[in-house]
Amino acid sequence: MTGKDRENYNKNYIEYVNSFAPPTKHFKNCIRTFFVGGLICTIGQFIRIILEKAFGLSGDELAGTTSMILIFLGCFLTGLGVYDRIGRNAGAGSIVPITGFANSVASPAMEFKTEGYIYGLAAKMFVVAGPIIVYGVLSGSLVGVIYWLLGLA
């Protein structure tokens, strides 16, 4: 069985499986995501206000410290195994905030520590974060160069 036959067979099989799976509850999913994502952002806003009012930070320092604290929380909760439990129910609500980025760095680092500190922990740390940094630097620098070329800045 090769080529088109196989494709058809796979397609039929997937349709067969889908006919038994319960329909995904899109709406409920989104509501849950909305609340978890909104809550994480509200916590971020809370940290921001505390840093601004109580510690007198402003501008880049304020934004940087806020995300550092959130990343710390993300890594800490990942370490405790709490974050993955939140993520199971929250979907994108726990992936999209910066704590999800922290989770995607800390989780493989912990998991692959057994394979050694260099090819395990350090290399696998960037399985998900690596692409973000690669495309982030490429696109961010591109924006900078475009602004430089056009003399907009």
Binding site: H26, C30, T33, F34, F35, G37, G38, L39, C41, T42, G44, Q45, F46, R48, A63, T66, S67, M68, I71, F72, C75, F76, T78, G81, D84, G91, A92, G93, I95, V96, P97, I98, F101, A102, S104, V105, A106, S107, A109, E111, K113, L121, M125, V127, V128, A129, P131, I132, I133, Y135, G136, S139, G140, L142, G144, V145, Y147, W148, L152, A153
Partner: protein, 127 residues
Amino acid sequence: MFEEYAEILIGFIKAFAVGGLICAIAQVVINFTDLTAGKILVIFMLAGVVLQGLGVYQYLVDFAGAGATVPICGFGYLLANGGIRGAENGLFGALTGALSSASAGISAAVIFAFLAALVFKAKSKKN
């Protein structure tokens, strides 16, 4: 005094609404396309870069505060903003500005993830 508290409270509500909405949009995309978490993160980060490159995302940040900076598009916003600000100081600044503005986030992620991996043991995915 009362007005100040009201302003803070409204800030929370805005952050909640905008942050939740961005995550909900991501969830809708996941529901209809089955993209993995890594791809969603890259797409939303790039969306932040493009929107800030066009100068739009700044309005959302001014409006919603952490509601716009905490989701991963805020990371893209930071990168693009660094590039734009660096461009004022010539080509070198334009090329280095993006990563240097993101260094707080990346450094924190590397340091805290490393510490977490040292301190904690990986839990099995099943429980």
